[in-house]
Symmetry: C2
Subunit: 314 residues, 2 copies
């Protein structure tokens, strides 16, 4: 199948073509440039919702519950699960697949796991490309599930229209949430497993913290939603709040601002990848090994070592 045919099929939401295009993204295929150029005019319609939070809060379960709710009203849904790649993840991906299995036979749902580690700049390069594929393929809503807190979480906020941060009671109090830096990026906060001890206190703490944030006139204050995703509880309210945020994005112009920011991220990701490829693969260089050994032994300082490496690149 040539690139033109692949893109044509992906634009008709042919699942195998969509899957193949995302594989080309993961493999950094030379065909990417042409694929992205052909897809470019067909994007900008999907709503991108990022879901993130620490391991164990129920991200996969919540994602699956959201898929069910969105499908019930006729939306097509793409799901991108961004995992740190690991030799141990076989089991984890299987776990996800079990949770997602109820959607396996649904032609209106496309589910894909992607590795984030190993990609230059983490998510900044591969995720926007994969989103572009799913957007152009015509999925109404794209759910991006990211494992972990920290940089990956911050990155996802740069790529999503709406960022949902999930927490669970008993996984730390409000201070811990703040420590993880999650409040800053959340458009919606979800306390999942809300039937557990301490859920009310967690909700209350989060509401107090979001209430303290300075807000511009007409700005958006992140609501705190309680769910028991495994039983579908609270998911309707979550969907309602997501719709409200989508309307806010449209009305305030913030949605356009975020889409432009996402495009800038994508461009910068490509520029940095190109700059880095021009310098060659630093990690494999013999002179870096030697410089590293000298620095480790205290015979050379790291800046002088960097100068030597830079001189050899020029």
């Amino acid at each position: 199948m040539d690139v033109g045919e692949l893109v044509d099929r992906a634009l008709r939401r042919d699942r195998r073509a969509v899957a193949r295009a995302i594989t080309l993204v993961e493999n950094a295929s030379p065909a990417l440039r042409e694929i992205m150029a052909r897809l470019a005019p067909h994007g900008g319609r999907a709503r991108v919702i990022g879901l993130t939070g620490a391991p164990g809060v129920g991200k996969s379960t919540s994602t699956s519950a959201l898929v069910t709710a969105l499908r019930a009203r006729g939306e097509t849904v793409g799901v991108l699960a961004v995992d740190p790649s690991s030799p141990f993840t076989g089991g984890a991906l299987l776990g996800d697949r079990v949770r997602m299995q109820e959607h396996a036979g649904d032609a209106g749902v496309f589910i894909r796991s992607m590795a984030s580690r190993g990609h230059l700049g983490g998510l900044s390069w591969a995720t926007p490309h994969a989103l572009r594929v799913l957007d152009a393929a015509g999925y109404d809503t794209i759910l991006v599930e990211t494992v972990g807190v920290g940089q990956a979480e911050v990155d996802i906020a740069a790529h999503a229209d709406t960022t949902v941060v999930l927490l669970a009671p008993g996984m730390g109090d409000g201070i811990q949430a703040a420590k993880a830096g999650v409040l800053e990026i959340a458009d919606l906060l979800v306390v999942n497993k809300a039937d557990r001890d301490g859920a009310r206190a967690t909700v209350r703490d989060l509401r107090q913290m979001t209430a303290q944030a300075a807000l511009e006139p007409g700005g958006w204050r992140p609501p705190v939603v309680s769910t028991v995703a495994a039983e579908g509880k609270g998911v309707d309210e979550l969907v309602e709040r997501l719709d409200l945020h989508a309307r806010y994005l449209d009305d305030s112009g913030e949605g356009d601002r975020r889409r432009r920011a996402r495009a800038r991220e994508e461009i910068v990701g490509i520029v940095l990848a190109e700059l880095r490829s021009r310098t060659g693969d630093l990690d494999g260089r013999a002179d870096l090994d030697q410089l590293g050994a000298r620095v480790a032994a205290g015979r050379l300082d790291p800046y002088t070592a960097a100068d030597e490496l830079l001189a050899s690149l020029a």
Copy 2:
């Protein structure tokens, strides 16, 4: 105080000089080059232990308990708490300080929080510099506490001699741990809050998973230690296991390998910072804003936009 005097004082473990040098690292001071050059011959003695895990597992409490144990046998200890910076972290840092307060009056302990976000390349640049300061200042052991899982966690493994991954029961089963990619980087696994329900199952799951990993002859299989850090329980065993790992690093040559790898990371961090500074600050450029708007509108593809940006940089 000039740079020479600052370094001389830091080498004598003058706490104010050490603190000031790390502030210069955080601020990417132009004096860094000279400071690092002066410190270079004096490093390579400290043992660097990274502690990481999801929010709520008790990293700060465990770090504090380790400080107490190491101090009891006369070691000097530096603590670097790497936090994602956030407008909300005031409370979190305060929380840490409360936990660390028992060490506040101890001249053999140096405690410092550092922001990781905003630094080019995250930890890859600032953390090795700060470690270099503490190492040259003569702290026997340096504990690096990192918030979160994901890329920050992987980064810390690149900088530490020994990486300790903390988990807590009830925060997800073994699959969740694998999903977070933590087993791959752990030299030691700690199940903290081991007095809680489900602790035994978590320990058993983790042991099963580490038992499955392929091991070279004479290799290190990460032990799983149970602790209740808030009560000091299990901390002696943790210290013993850390000592065993230190001996393994010495005997196997793995310690030298890691120190050289850390030096390479530090050099590459400087090279990339320099390359990026040569291209100017992409984020602030007006042409990037315009390119981003055109890409967002589907009138331009991201690769062509990147080409235009690259051409303007040359």
